[in-house]
């Protein structure tokens, strides 16, 4: 008789999962759609999990690459209740109580979109055109004019973020010089805000505006996700470093599709472009960032683990610049900066069977795997 299994612990080598951590991809959540109806099916960017395993170099469903995340950890808050009865109080049955989950991670790559996710705020672009009057009214109140009209946009090919494209995205403007746009400029692109309009989620970034609270025509460009760097200018055709990211969170019919571009350059108002120099995330306000998120861990033997959160929102902005130590950096307090974020998984009513869930955890087979056990 062979030696007992429990003493020898044989295992099938292709049943071990060896990966190198997680990578985060996001897509906008349509706040206007999601907040106006009772069904939580409305609003998320639906990721068809049957399309996986996913190619991290060419993600579908307008998922944008937020880079390497560290210390990804989930905290399941779903409860299982117990019904006890009888003289001994034994558990006779169990039932599911509340459903919930929070998760946290650190964004090792630091960018505007990561800040938007981690802070959960409507991040403000700092307009950069020179010669403008300073703001004595508020830190973000200064005018960013001049601007220039946008007449065309192509996202390039492939439409992918943080990687090389064979054809770069372009933005055609009326006059780059008029808006002080030069090669190397950072730009923001969005529609004019019409003073007097208000709502819970206006513009493609889905920012809340109270009645008569905003008079700045640049307000959408100050809050837009559509930012890029100009790498070349040829007859007012701006070549961008990467496609515009985001959008789809605002009005029920978003004006921007990350894969194809803007539906119109003159509607609802004129689309314009302005230079920017950075961004600001405020602590406070009423905006709460909401997204759909897909987290991926590939294994060396080509299996893939995924977490899909149809509706995820900020739980707590833990640190804007959490330090991580750089070894041997000398005697100064030198270190790296990362974004420490915590999220809450919101409800999604799965249309397949009507069950309310918050997360999908998937596993895609590797070749020749014994799938059952």
């Amino acid at each position: 008789m062979p030696f007992p299994k429990s003493l020898q612990q044989p295992f099938r080598r292709n049943k071990l999962v060896v990966g190198s951590g997680w990578r985060a991809f996001f897509a906008p959540y349509n706040i206007a759609l999601g907040s106006s109806v009772a069904s939580t099916v409305i609003g998320p960017t639906i990721v068809d999990l049957t399309q996986g395993p996913f190619d991290s170099y060419n993600m579908p469903f307008a998922l944008a690459d937020l880079g390497w995340i560290k210390d990804f950890k989930i905290t399941v808050e779903s409860k299982v209740g117990q019904v006890r009865s009888g003289y001994r109080g034994a558990v006779r049955t169990q039932y599911r109580g509340q459903v919930g989950e929070t998760w946290e991670c650190k964004f090792n790559e630091y960018g505007r979109m990561q800040v938007k996710l981690a802070s959960g705020t409507n991040v403000f672009n700092l307009l950069a055109a020179s010669g403008q009057s300073g703001g004595t009214v508020g830190p973000l109140s200064a005018s960013g004019a001049p601007s220039t009209n946008v007449t065309a946009y192509t996202p390039g090919t492939p439409v992918a973020w943080n990687q090389t494209q064979t054809v770069s995205p372009t933005l055609t403007v009326a006059s780059a010089a008029a808006a002080q746009i030069t090669v190397g400029s950072y730009i923001a692109v969005d529609y004019d805000y019409v003073p007097g309009t208000f709502g819970a989620a206006l513009g493609d970034a889905g920012v809340p505006i109270y009645k008569n609270a905003v008079t700045d025509v640049d307000y959408f460009r100050k809050t837009t996700d559509f930012v890029a760097r100009v790498t070349a200018i040829n007859s007012n055709v701006l070549t961008l470093d990467q496609p515009l990211v985001g959008g789809g969170s605002g009005n029920p019919t978003p004006n921007f599709n990350p894969l194809t571009g803007f539906a119109s350059f003159t509607s609802p108002t004129q689309l314009r472009c302005q230079t920017i120099k950075g961004f600001v995330a405020r602590e406070g306000g009423t905006y709460i960032g909401e997204f759909s998120a897909l987290l991926i861990c590939d294994t060396v033997d080509t299996a893939q683990l995924v977490y899909y959160y149809p509706h995820v929102s900020i739980l707590q902005n833990r640190d804007f610049a959490a330090g991580w130590t750089i070894e041997n950096a000398g005697t100064t307090d030198e270190g790296g900066m990362q974004l420490d974020a915590q999220f809450s998984a919101l409800a999604f009513d799965d249309p397949l069977d009507g069950e309310t869930v918050v997360c999908y955890r998937g596993y895609y087979f590797k070749p020749q795997e014994a799938p059952a056990i």
């Binding site: 020898q8 612990q9 080598r13 070749p367 020749q368």
Partner: protein, 174 residues
Amino acid sequence: MAYQDAIYSHYNWVKARIKIKNPDRKVAGLLNAQDWPEKPFKYDTFFLLDLNDVSVGRQGFSPSNPIKLRQVQWTWINSGTDLKQGERKPNRGDRFNLMLTMQEELLYALYPGYCEKLTWSLNAAGIWIGDSLTPPEFITWTPVEFHKKWDKESSIGYGAGAVSVQDITDQITS
């Protein structure tokens, strides 16, 4: 073969990538550390030395499928280029740059830190053939640690890049 597969797979993977980075770079072979250096010695050439094996501890040890950390070392020796007649510059003055160049090549070649574990055999023509296992298996290795030594008298430079290859060995049966 079986126990050899991990080392051979690592060697052939890294060798192929060295050739991508620098097609002219010589990769002379795999041998036990105590057999090195061979004579006559080949300068500016990579060798893979097999040092020893360490078993994974309690976190993953299985008597049936021992997980081994195969400690290997990519090794080379640079002497620098001797001056030709009529040249005026420090003799063998490029050895430092050559050492760093080979380090860079090895760093490139060890990417991405894993490869498929193939089983190796000689075909009728005497050529090593690597075949996939069923089901496919993979090996991983640690980030490389470089070590360098210089002999001031001879100007000979000795470079080594140590990695540990994780290998789940074939199942031992009763």
